[in-house]
């Protein structure tokens, strides 16, 4: 799999950044030294095991200390460690230097997807969520698994080649970790904390990683796909994205038809709610509440539902969607849940309009 793990890969990735390549060399250097020491120490031991057996008539010696030897095997390892520390220090300093970036991207971890926002450059203002795009049937074994099983997303982070990309990370709910082995990058994304890292990819292509910090149920299902493009292609992509952004701008003052809201709401639900509340709206017993037939919130006056979506439920996995969804999206998804899975608009307020959300925000 170019850009992702090889089948039965035995070593680190050579990668497409200087850092990843340096790390691989550093690791090889450490491994060679460790292997030599290992062979030395266990060579002596194996010699003992073979030659100094009682069954071969070995008579035990009585020595039990030797200051010279003991000093030697304390000092020599110390010198070896210094020889390891020198290249390691150089690599640490290089990895930590996020200055003079050509492009800055804000990466936000959500349960269980990644959000990307371009903070500068030609795509400034473009932001989107990247969800796992492996079909559920493959996970459940009902369809054959593709080469990109669990390492494919619906949208990719797109960056230009040979440019220093600074990645600023945070999270919305719990700690996640953004890892792309081909770049030699792994950095935790933490709620309420900003951390940064950087990479400069030297080769165009698609590179894959996964979340590396346990973040709950779908920890294994929030991969990272980065597309590295030639500068011209990147600029073209950025222009398209910005145009699409303007075209798709929602008007929260408009009054929408039921069918419009339901259709839009189904998409919002699939991207944001389905992991916990499930496609059939049944949730998971004792963990995530069912929305189908839910008389407390869904088949009740809309105020409670809008507030839960806006503010989340502190102390549970229900996150606030205030900054994640706009008023049209929240109105659409609320309307959708009020009609789906046999709810059929039975409760009060079967239709929620964006202006209702604006009023409560």
């Amino acid at each position: 799999m170019p850009g992702g793990p090889q089948v039965n890969q035995l070593n680190l990735h050579r990668g497409v950044t200087q850092i990843a390549s340096d790390i691989m060399d550093l690791h090889s250097f450490l491994l060679v030294i460790c292997t030599l020491i290992f062979i030395g120490v266990f060579g002596v031991m194996v010699y003992s095991i073979v030659k100094h057996r009682k069954s071969k008539g070995a008579v035990p010696a009585t020595f039990h200390e030797n200051v010279g030897v003991e000093i030697a095997w304390t000092v020599i390892p110390f010198l070896i460690i210094i020889s390891m520390a020198v290249p390691a220090t150089r690599a640490v300093v290089a990895m930590k230097d996020t200055s003079n970036a050509d492009l800055t991207v804000l990466v936000t971890g959500y349960q269980w997807k990644w959000g990307y926002e371009y903070l500068d450059g030609p795509a400034q203002g473009v932001k989107f969520l990247a969800n796992l795009s492996t079909p559920r049937d493959q996970i459940d074994g009902k369809a054959p698994k593709s080469d990109t099983y669990l390492i494919e997303t619906d949208r990719h982070l797109v960056v230009p080649v040979n440019k220093k990309v600074r990645v600023v990370l945070t999270a919305n709910d719990v700690i996640h970790s953004w890892m792309v082995p081909q770049f030699g990058v792994k950095q935790d994304a933490m709620p309420g904390v900003l951390r940064e890292t950087w990479f400069r990819a030297t080769k165009a292509g698609t590179y894959r990683g996964q979340c590396a910090e346990l973040c709950g149920k779908d920890h294994a299902f929030m991969p990272i796909v980065v597309e590295v493009m030639e500068q011209a292609d990147y600029e073209k992509w950025a222009t398209e994205q910005r145009q699409a952004l303007q075209a798709a701008a929602d008007d929260p003052t408009k009054t929408y038809e039921l069918e419009e809201l339901r259709a839009r709401g189904e998409k919002v639900y699939a991207a944001n709610c389905i992991a916990c509340h499930q496609a059939n709206g049944q949730g998971l017993p004792n963990t995530f509440p069912a929305l189908a037939g839910n008389e407390k919130v869904v088949l009740a006056p809309m105020k409670e539902q809008i507030e839960v979506i806006l503010n989340g439920r502190p102390g549970t996995a229900m996150a606030p969607f205030r900054d994640l969804l706009n008023d049209v999206e929240i109105a659409a998804v609320a309307t959708y849940t009020r009609h789906a899975w046999g709810n059929n608009g039975k409760g009060p307020d079967p239709i929620v309009q964006p202006s209702d959300v604006t009023a409560l925000r």
Binding site: F38, V92, Q187
Partner: protein, 536 residues
């Protein structure tokens, strides 16, 4: 130290017969519930930890079952995460730590010539807290939302999202921590105050030394863990916000507190094994331990350094360049005293007169695989490499090489070494060797491929993985079942020995073993060293 001999073992007959009746064990269940005898309590600790080893082992096999092939076949991720979490917690707090306290209870009084542990009733209490902790861990699977699924590290804020299963874990950790603290106090007081005349500190068997240092580590770190989980508890239920950034807290704070406990904890789980190996290797080399004094200093150096390196678990969390360099250098230094230990063991074997009974096989196996785990530890200490393999299967491989092949093999070595003293019968040598070879081979089949998975970038705590990782996962699962089944040999041998089936063991079953424990008959009588022996 190994030249220690008992100058004079006084006869154990009693002057007053009416007293003697009170000195024997109680009959029936009262013997165990009200136990104050260090040998009985030691036995209970060991049996308990073996039971928990089985429970944790079954959880591990459930994990490996799901991971045999990509896709979700048996367990949904939320249950899988409960298994990974509880596997770790049960193995650490239920199995490894209590097992070493069991060894300490049995052997420290026998090795220093004391009649019992210093605080016999507290000893009873610290044991009986353990089953309560175990019940909390086990029953948490059956509460709404299931057991704690936030990993044994319980990082906030994920642990704040958990259901009541998390509270069960928090209370279990409190209780088991209290038990460890009491055990540690008992061991320190016993060693410092109850040594036989002439048994100076620098004459003690190394097992006593490593436990003395371990006990100080426990005293220092268990309150820190208790503080961390208490803060989780109040964040969860009482409106505090220690770890909630939105209310002025800091999720990184939790990691600093946890790993300030967590790193010394690693040495709590390995130092006593160093002590066992340092008894077994000289015994079967028929030669005194090489560099006794440097072994003591190396153990102390490891313990002190262990408090100064905690943030090497947090390189991917992010920290300033200087902090990262400091924690990297300090961590690399630990390999020096650890290396000294390995060199000393090899030098002890050099020009000895070696035989290879099961305890020695496990000791040599320990040195071999523990050294591999030590080297991967050195590689992980180098921050840039750690960034690539942090939270991948490389780390899983690393700590199972030190915890299974280290702690567990060390305990097996000790168990076979002292089983004749505990039960009075020799174990079946042929089966013992089979247990060793079967465990050693299957252990490596299970965990060696995980190095490759980690280098290629397979993250840990994944219920499902990319198809490129399939083959090594299949190998690991096959190895895991083989390893699990191999342990049934040990259980069979223990049951046989407990039922006194086997050749009767002499007081000194090993030609080269030294130390006071071999001056008492096998099995060790209920009361030993009521009059302290004189050590020359």
């Amino acid at each position: 130290m190994s030249s220690v001999t008992a100058g004079h073992v006084p006869p154990t007959t009693h002057d007053h017969d009416h007293d003697h009746a009170h000195h024997g064990p109680e009959k029936g269940w009262r013997r165990w519930v009200f136990a104050t005898n260090h040998k009985d309590i030691g036995t209970m600790y060991l049996v308990f930890s073996l039971a928990m080893l089985l429970e944790g082992g079954v959880l591990a096999l459930l994990l490996r079952t799901e991971l045999f092939a990509p896709g979700l076949q048996f367990f949904q991720p939320e249950l899988f995460n409960q298994f990974t979490t509880m596997h770790g917690l049960i193995m650490i707090f239920g199995s490894i730590m209590p097992a070493f306290v069991g060894f300490a209870n049995w052997m420290i009084p026998l090795q220093i010539g004391a009649s019992d542990m210093a605080f016999a009733r507290m000893n009873n209490f610290s044991f009986w807290l353990l089953p309560i902790g175990a019940i909390l861990f086990t029953t948490s699977f059956f509460v709404p939302g299931g057991a704690n699924a936030a990993g044994w590290t319980m990082y906030a804020p994920l642990s704040l999202q958990m259901g009541p299963g998390m509270d069960f874990t928090i209370f279990a950790v409190h209780i088991l921590g209290a038990s460890s603290i009491m055990g540690a106090i008992n061991i320190i007081v016993t060693i410092l105050n109850m040594r036989a005349p002439g048994m100076t500190l620098m004459k003690m068997p190394l097992f006593c030394w490593t436990w003395l240092i371990t006990a100080y580590l426990l005293l220092a770190i268990m309150p820190v863990l208790a503080a961390a989980v208490t803060m989780l508890l109040t964040d969860r239920h009482f409106g505090t916000a220690f770890f909630n950034a939105a209310a002025g807290g800091d999720p990184v704070l939790y990691q600093h507190i946890f790993w300030f406990f967590g790193h010394p904890e690693v040495y709590v789980m390995i130092l006593p094994a160093f002590g066992i190996i340092s008894s077994v290797v000289p015994a079967f080399s028929r030669k005194p331990l090489f560099g006794y004094a440097s072994m003591v200093y190396a153990t102390a150096a490891i313990a002190i350094l262990s408090f100064l390196v905690w943030a090497h678990h947090m390189f991917a969390t992010g920290m300033s360049t200087t902090s990262q360099l400091y924690f990297m250098y300090a961590t690399m230094l630990i390999s020096i005293p650890t290396g000294v230990k390995v060199f000393n063991w090899v030098a002890t074997m050099w020009r000895g007169s070696l035989t290879f009974e099961t305890p020695m096989l496990f000791a040599i196996g320990f040195i071999f695989v523990f050294t591999i785990g030590g080297f991967t530890g050195l590689i992980l200490s180098v921050a840039p490499v750690d960034i690539q393999v942090h939270d991948t299967y490389y780390v899983i491989a690393h700590f199972h090489y030190v915890m299974v092949a280290g702690s567990l093999f060390g305990m097996y070595s000790g168990a076979y070494y002292w089983l004749p003293k505990w039960t009075g019968v020799m174990y079946d040598e042929k089966l013992g060797r089979m247990h060793f070879w079967s465990s050693m081979i299957s252990f490596n089949i299970t965990f060696f491929p995980m190095h490759f998975l980690g280098l290629a970038g397979m993250p840990r705590r994944y219920a499902d993985y990319a198809a490129q990782f399939t083959d090594f996962n299949m190998v690991a699962t096959i190895g895991a079942f083989w390893f699990g089944l191999s342990q049934l040999i040990f259980i069979w041998l223990v049951i046989k020995a407990a039922r006194k089936i086997g050749e009767p063991a002499p007081a000194q079953p090993w030609e080269g073993a030294t130390g006071l424990e071999w001056t008492v008959p096998s099995p060790a009588p209920f009361h030993t060293f009521e009059t302290p022996p004189v050590v020359k």
